[in-house]
Symmetry: C2
């Protein structure tokens, strides 16, 4: 599993003391090559954390040798000093790698940085930099799971995936347990592949994959300052997939990770798929799905095992999608509780005892479909987010 | 207090058995004239309840003699039969009034209808129509408070207001304890005045009043199918205020009712004013205020008495307003915890022990200001909305 399954990658996860719990909090992923191509997708939030601003520049350069990630502090809203901390972290990682590796000189401009945790506080650099050195020493071909653990915050388990191509693979790790929202929100994800692929091929694959996976998870409608998804290619397999092959594998990896994130969202008791069908176009299908996914009354109803289709209709009614209110059908877990905008099958037939809920909305306005995933709104969500300062 | 303070109005509130609790559930407001001018503002939700579709037509006619309101059922998403129920209610009210009043013939087209309660279920007409007759018999110059009580759903108290003009007054009642959101969401409001005012004057006053009061309350971001605000004028004072005078009084009445709604929002422990200053224009100030008001992470933080300015910045960052992230200042209850996009005064200085919270956000982008009001997101909100089917 994880980022070290594809050839050409090593990783490590160590405890640097950023987390008061003493758990692992610094991860490092190294691309041993021969290639070091990269693509990245970042938060759409205009308030971007220092590591996002840094990594956007690094990715633009087209070459990334290493990604250093820390939990225990987001380094967001920390001003110019926070950006200097990120820069110093990249410099320190590059220097440590150059010192420890034979025949490899790594520049700071080839090191992406990701951070997650509390917003608005400086990172304790006196702990982070020794942690980076420790991670460099710990780099291993088996280090993927340790790296995946080191990036956890309120996650209750680490998230890893592997997807096999023909002679090449895609591996990945992710973290994120709240603030999942369009454009990805509080999640970090590193994907690796031993395929031979230039930056443009990687970029096209990653953007399409994010568009239909991470961008359609909307756990609580909140968008983070730190979201980062990186895709690194080592070329170590010597095989060059087509764009379609690469996109399919990366999409599959992202879908798997996205579903793992959703299943571990803070305080959730349900994973809810909102399938919109019969939309005039895909954009409208997504708009309708998202309006339902973000509706606190729908989310609390599902927490209470109440198949409240009236709240679904009220949410759909706030959108600008093409539909006639008296033509909408709604099914909850397969029972069409609403037909033509009014009550239909008996709601007592709906079984909401499990974690998995599917709401299907037929707009009868065209051929397009889309699915948006969300969670319910529970007491535990309120508890976790009122007690834990992110 | 309430709708019967202005001259020319009578009202009643009776129990018709729509609520299983046996509490009052049918209200009637009668305009004895001499005028019967009206203006109305309705939900922006495209899924509109039958009484909204009916009352929009009635208001377009420019004359409203009576408003009949029921709690215990929203008559939303009930299809053509639901609309027929609304029509029958108006017809029955008109006939009962005509039978009981000397020298007055009331047509169904002069009777506005409002409903609130569960979505998706037909009203029990066998209870509602006798209730209407009972309300007609109970009409009284002192009936305002009884009417205000009869429209309550999860409200814990009735909402009434009076604003004095010079020789004329505005009275009002409202209900709403959840789904407060732009364009008003699950609230009913009837305003009365004995001023002399034509439909155009009333309409301009009511739209401006709603724009800066009800439209800027955003309790949980959800928009209802039934929102209705009506303003009736009897002309009984014989005094014709200017547009500015009428708008000021109606705005004041709406502001008072809006604050009462906010203070009684389902499960809330805080009333939160989000004051945006330094915006490029008022639209952007409202956009920024609303993005913060709807952010579940901000709302849960405040429930936990956590002045989490990082979450405020993350919410602001999702908007398209003009600002530079490193220029934003944020104060919570007067303490500037964030200056220039980074930590400033010690957050431990912030006193969040009371119910009232003010978040001031300075965008440093222009002269415009706006305030949006919201509530926190509490365990009680989750409980009430997962246990109660609206």
């Amino acid at each position: 599993m994880s980022v070290t399954v594809p050839r050409g990658f090593r990783a490590a996860g160590v405890a640097a003391g950023l987390k008061t719990s003493g758990a692992a909090d610094v991860a490092l992923v190294l691309n041993d090559g021969p290639d070091a191509t990269v693509a990245g997708v970042f938060t759409a939030n205009r308030v971007k954390a220092a590591p996002v601003l840094w990594s956007q520049q690094v990715v633009r350069g087209g070459v990334v040798r290493a990604v250093v990630l820390n939990s225990g502090g987001a380094n967001a809203c920390t001003g110019a000093p926070g950006f200097q901390d990120t820069h110093a972290t990249a410099e320190h990682t590059a220097a440590s790698l150059t010192n420890s590796l034979p025949r490899m000189i790594v520049g700071a401009g080839e090191v992406a940085v990701c951070s997650t945790g509390l917003i608005g506080e400086r990172l304790p650099m006196d702990k982070l930099l020794p942690g980076v050195r420790s991670a460099v020493r710990g780099l291993s071909r088996d280090g993927g799971p340790a790296a995946a653990s080191a990036i956890m915050t309120t996650d209750t388990r680490s998230k890893m995936t592997v997807v096999a191509g023909t002679g090449w693979t895609v591996g990945g790790m992710a973290k994120g347990a709240g603030m999942l929202a369009p454009a990805m929100a509080t999640m970090l994800c590193v994907l690796t592949t031993d395929a031979v692929a230039g930056p443009d091929l990687l970029d096209a694959a990653l953007r399409e994959a994010c568009r239909v996976t991470f961008d359609r998870i909307d756990s609580d409608g909140c968008m983070s300052t730190n979201d980062t998804v990186l895709l690194l290619a080592s070329g170590a397999s010597g095989i060059e997939p087509t764009q379609a092959e690469l996109t399919a594998a990366v999409t599959s990896a992202c879908h798997d990770l996205a579903q793992q994130l959703l299943a571990d969202a803070e305080g959730a008791t349900k994973e809810i798929a909102i399938e919109v069908v019969g939309a005039a176009d895909e954009t409208e299908a997504v708009e309708v799905g998202r309006s339902v996914a973000r509706n606190n009354l729908v989310k609390t109803a599902l927490f209470g095992n109440d198949p409240n289709w009236g709240r679904v209709l009220a949410a759909v009614g706030t959108t600008s999608a093409v539909f006639e209110p008296d033509e909408i059908d709604v099914a909850v877990n397969g029972v069409w509780v609403c037909r033509s905008g009014a009550a239909a099958e008996d709601r007592s037939k709906v079984d909401l005892s499990g974690r998995s809920v599917t709401i299907r909305i037929d707009l009868h306005a065209g051929p397009a479909i889309a699915t948006v995933w969300t969670n319910d709104l529970s007491h535990a969500y309120v508890h976790e987010n009122s007690a834990y300062s992110t």
